[in-house]
């Protein structure tokens, strides 16, 4: 492997063969780490521009209403207000969307969800803007919102979220997207008859939020050429631009985006939020406009994780071999499509889990409703389904009287197996081994009732138990996730690498449009450049649209895709430099490489310092990295080579439950994951622990509570995410089985633990309480029968 390349044999090379310890496989410090810890990092909300105005949106208090009139005259009269805009002021296309352009940039005649933006204000002070927003008069005809599955699927009775003639998706009725899948003999009565045991279940997943800490924010600066420069916290600069330009009626090259400091994303920044709004205001007023959402506005300003209702039926033989799985997954996509089609695709193609099942029937659909829009969130589609199929595995194991880990291992996929989509798993898939590894890890010590520390108990310092009611439980789970965009999408990445001498040293510069959202991509890019170019000094160019697309920071794909592009560009620069040397010095050696700032060869020793060879010239090359092509799934059968790569994580959860009060403390959450190759082991462990923690949130506390289409807890007072006292030790066992198709053999790591950890925690709570628990998050009411 090139990452650990050393040149052996030649004594005179001993000192220079040391590959940089900060190359791949090392864990150098993040360039942004210290600043963030000290509170000095500039986030997008910290930006300031002379003469700038503040933008603010008026949002609908109703989930479904017709807009009879909008009167902006009083708002315009507020001193300090520069502009009040409605959809009528939009110069270009009025709609945008990631996959389906069904979302108006500002509401047109109707609102479809609580919090939909209707009008915009720009003023010289945020307080002025807020007051002006309150002076906009909107007359509504309030309609009964369409919010449940039953209502959505009966549009004749309850109405349409989008009128039938408005459909821009392939869907119909209130269905935004659907995907079926049949493999083997499907599920028929004859197939059912082959099973000795059948278990059925209905499972629900609540609406989780990404809960990133840095609210949506950005600064739009009008440019002299009539275009606009936007400094923005986002996940994908180029797709933002692609959606913005038509609305602004500008050619793409006049919409220039630069990444501003991103305070977390988790999928919530994959859609546009304030991008178009800030640019509309900036272009209209000719002044820079900054928009920063408040925390409550943030809850309305981005999409959430699709809530799901899932029905599963599994059949198995007496000895635990799965015979069939019949699944239906209904995802509530809310008012607009966002990423719903991809979420449905993942749910349908991964929703039976990492198991060999000869006969599968599956249907996944996303509804249009008047609930908040749902879209991308870490692990989408796979997270919801994993709670369903892993709950079923436990149920089946109980029915068969088998150990739940053993049942999973008996049916686990491995390399060479086929998914129900017909896609062969052509890379390592150590599912059974991952399960074994978490099972074999030592268990945490039992509760010590003699020397109790209340902080370690459910309720902690709330002092609800001194040992009373506490029962320990253990649960296991394993999950599967795809890496990269699927179903025929060519989400390529671009990287530009420049090598030149600065201050007497060879320095590499890496320029991509990758959104660093906290995942540590900038660290990894520098590591790759060090390893490939044999330099120590690497600078990372600010991410912007001057370079080609890097695709999205999502789908666990950035190290694979943009890391792969940096590798390609760096290799090209290396070859160019070596060629230059060959031309100048007439080297004949076949094994020339770059190490420790020198051009070296095993057979020729040190050929020349890179500084001398480069001289005043800079080598500056750009490369694109495309993953292997995939194809869309067949609409009816779900067959197709749809995914780029699979990733797997297994978990063991140990919980203490106060069974009388229904309070839970996760004592330990163990993870084992195959990462292919850990380019930065510290970051990888961080991703796995972070992913597990987000899954813990979904298991026991995180939910946007929506009643009749209205969000009830748009604040961190009532949308609870785990604190450090809720977060247990998370031992991580990392397996590195290289994927032959991936750069360095690596595997995307960010999402798999978010997929798999939730069901392990619920399984542990079931183990402690004996309750069925068919819904996450599990609330104290579920555990005490007081719902």
């Amino acid at each position: 492997m090139s990452g650990t390349r050393t040149i052996q044999g030649q004594k005179n090379l001993q000192n220079i063969h040391q590959a940089s310890k900060d190359g791949i496989g090392g864990s150098p410090l993040r360039p942004d780490g210290t600043l963030k810890v000290k509170g000095e990092f500039a986030y997008s909300s910290d930006m300031w521009h002379e003469d700038m105005l503040w933008g603010m949106a008026l949002r609908s208090p109703h989930p479904r209403a017709n807009i009879l009139s909008v009167d902006i005259s009083e708002a315009l009269k507020v001193p300090g207000v520069y502009a009040v805009l409605t959809h009528e002021d939009i110069p270009g296309s009025k709609y945008y969307g990631l996959e389906i352009q069904d979302q108006p940039a500002l509401a047109i005649d109707k609102v479809r969800y609580h919090g939909e933006a209707i009008a915009l204000v720009a003023a010289d002070h945020p307080e002025t803007a807020r007051r002006a927003v309150k002076k906009i008069k909107v007359e509504y005809e309030v309609l009964t919102p369409i919010t449940t599955e039953e209502q959505c699927l009966d549009p004749e009775t309850y109405g349409y979220v989008h009128e039938p003639h408005e459909y821009k998706s392939h869907g119909s009725g209130n269905i935004c997207h659907s995907q079926k899948l049949v493999s083997g003999g499907g599920v028929t009565d004859e197939i059912r008859a082959l099973a000795d045991v059948i278990v059925k279940g209905t499972y629900e997943v609540g609406m989780q939020d990404q809960a990133f800490l840095g609210p949506e924010s950005g600064l739009a600066v009008p440019a002299e050429d009539g275009g606009v420069d936007l400094y923005i916290a986002t996940q994908w600069l180029h797709v933002d631009r692609q959606q913005m330009a038509p609305v602004l009626a500008l050619p793409e090259e006049k919409v220039r985006l630069t990444l501003a400091g991103v305070g977390g994303a988790f999928g919530g920044r994959e859609d546009l939020s304030m991008q178009i709004h800030a640019c509309l205001l900036a272009l209209h007023t000719g002044k820079p406009v900054k928009i920063v959402y408040s925390r409550d506005e943030s809850f309305f300003g981005h999409v959430h994780r699709h809530p799901a209702r899932m029905t599963y039926e599994h059949g198995a033989t007496r000895d635990g071999k799965l015979v069939f799985a019949d699944c239906r997954i209904v995802l509530d996509g809310g008012a607009y499509a966002s990423a719903s089609p991809a979420v449905v695709g993942n749910a349908a193609s991964l929703g039976h889990g990492p198991y060999v099942i000869p006969n599968v029937r599956m249907e996944a659909i996303a509804l249009y409703s008047n609930n908040p829009s749902c879209g991308a969130m870490r692990g989408f589609g796979a997270v919801q389904a994993c709670f369903g199929y892993e709950s079923q595995m436990d149920k089946l194991a109980a029915e068969l009287g088998m150990d739940p880990v053993e049942l999973r291992q008996i049916n686990a996929v491995t390399q060479g197996d086929f998914m129900p989509t017909g896609q062969e798993i052509d890379a390592p898939a150590p599912v059974a081994e991952l399960l074994q590894r978490v099972k074999d890890m030592p268990l945490p010590p039992p509760l010590d009732l003699e020397n109790l520390d209340v902080r370690t108990l459910p309720g902690a310092l709330s002092n609800t138990s001194h040992g009373e009611g506490i029962v320990r439980g253990i649960g296991y789970s394993v999950g599967i996730k795809n890496v990269g965009f699927s179903e025929g999408f060519d989400d390529y990445s671009t990287a530009r690498v420049r090598l030149e001498v600065i201050g007497g040293e060879p320095v590499a510069m890496v320029h991509t449009a990758m959104a660093e959202v906290g995942q540590g991509g900038v660290t990894v890019h520098a590591q790759i450049a060090r390893t490939e170019l044999g330099v120590e000094q690497v600078t990372i160019h600010p991410a912007n649209t001057e370079v080609g697309s890097a695709g999205s920071t999502s789908a666990s794909r950035q190290t694979y895709m943009t890391g792969g592009a940096v590798k390609l560009a760096a290799e090209a620069v290396k070859q160019a430099l070596i060629e230059k040397g060959r031309r100048r010095y007439g080297w004949e050696h076949k094994d020339i490489t770059l190490v420790g700032g020198k051009v070296v060869s095993e057979t020729g020793g040190v050929l020349v310092p890179m500084v001398d060879l480069l001289g005043d010239e800079a080598i500056d090359l750009t490369r694109e990295h495309h993953h292997r092509p995939t194809v869309p799934f067949d609409k009816e059968t779900g067959q197709g080579f749809g995914h780029v790569q699979y990733t797997f994580c297994a978990n063991r959860a140990v919980v203490d439950v106060d069974v009388e009060l229904g309070l839970v403390k996760v004592v330990e959450l163990t993870a084992a994951q195959d990462v292919g190759k850990a380019l930065n082991p510290l970051s990888v462990v961080g991703q796995i622990q972070g992913g597990c923690t987000q899954a813990l949130g979904l298991a026991v506390m995180e939910e946007i509570v929506v009643k009749d289409g209205k969000v009830r807890n748009a604040s961190f007072t009532d949308y609870l995410i785990p604190t450090i006292l809720d977060t247990p030790p998370i031992p991580v066992d990392m397996l590195e089985l290289p994927d032959p198709h991936a750069p360095y053999g690596l595997r995307g790591v960010g999402e798999a633990p978010t997929v798999s950890a939730t069901p392990s925690i619920v399984a542990a709570i079931r183990n402690a309480t004996g309750l069925a628990l068919n819904r996450v998050p599990v609330r104290p009411e579920h555990l005490t029968g007081t719902l």
């Binding site: 902690a460 002092n463 001194h466 009388e660 609870l720 604190t723 809720d726």
Partner: protein
């Protein structure tokens, strides 16, 4: 908006008399949040942070006089002995940062049904008084009369809270709070309990399960009766499950909670019964140990 910064208590009272709608600010952990959320647009803010003695406490005989601005972190560090119930409640408030700023005076000023001081103060006995002052003079408001409605208290427009008078504990006290995570959480419901061996009474306080913090008076009376009739104060003997159970039920029945986004009414009632049983058991075990070791 006016920003008033009196240097002395008398100046503060004069300012409050002159600007009765001025919003006092102490730790600011409620005030600043509400201003950020645009809940308040006060005409004036009255900053009490320059008045040093508001952040002091003293013990006079059997009573702690707790300055309105003493932060929770100091209550935990300095007053766990004389005020164990309040110190346990203080432990459950917010995060270290909030405990460094937030105060009992502010908790009383806000008078939220979810304020964690309230159950502990209610349980601490009938000699708990809020010392309220104005240019017109000082009055001691019994804690039972202090909470008048959701986020309403019995302060007059020109009054400020100077201190709270709380009897030094003469028996074990406990405080329990339910939250759906293990730290930094607003109470779904809470319960404070205290044994008062000298007066042969017990104290209770229910939080987040009624429009105001309130006592479970029938539960107190029931237990007082049982303890007296059976001579348990003297013997320290076991209470027995029936008594504990009944006490829990009476506490539960004293609550009138609602369903909201934090929890259901049924859960709150259920949890109150459990917390009442447990806190009674813990305090009684401590008390009987004391009796036995004294015997």
């Amino acid at each position: 908006m006016e920003f008033l910064r009196p240097a002395t208590w008398d100046e503060a009272l004069a300012a409050k008399a002159e600007y009765p709608t001025a919003l006092p600010i102490s730790g600011g952990t409620d005030v600043m949040v509400e201003m950020n959320f645009d809940v308040h647009r006060p005409s004036a803010i009255l900053d009490l942070n320059r008045i040093g003695d508001l952040a002091t406490w003293s013990i006079d005989g059997d009573t702690v006089r707790l300055g309105a601005a003493v932060p929770y972190s100091r209550i935990i560090d300095e007053l766990s002995g004389p005020l164990p119930g309040l110190a346990l409640a203080a432990h459950t408030v917010g995060s270290p940062q909030i405990r460094n700023r937030g105060s009992v005076g502010g908790n009383l000023g806000a008078a939220s049904p979810a304020g964690d001081s309230h159950p502990a103060l209610l349980a601490a006995g009938r000699d708990v008084f809020v010392e309220a002052a104005s240019v017109r003079g000082t009055r001691l408001i019994p804690i039972d009369d202090f909470y008048t409605g959701v986020k309403r208290n019995s302060l007059e427009a020109d009054e400020l809270i100077r201190a709270v008078h709380i009897p030094v504990a003469d028996g074990p006290q406990q405080f329990s709070k339910i939250g759906t995570r293990n730290a930094m959480v607003i109470a779904v419901c809470a319960f404070g309990f205290a044994l008062h061996p000298k007066s042969r009474t017990v104290g209770t306080g229910i939080g987040s399960a009624a429009p105001t913090p309130r006592r479970a008076v029938e539960a107190e009376e029931y237990l007082r009766g049982v303890l007296a009739e059976r001579g348990l104060w003297e013997s320290g003997d076991l209470l027995g499950t029936e008594v504990i159970q009944r006490f829990g039920e009476l506490v539960r029945d004293a609550a009138s909670p609602i369903d909201d986004v934090r929890g259901t009414a049924d859960y709150r009632k259920h949890a109150l019964a459990v917390m009442a049983r447990r806190t009674l058991t813990w305090t009684w075990n401590d008390y009987s140990k004391q009796i036995r070791s004294a015997a």
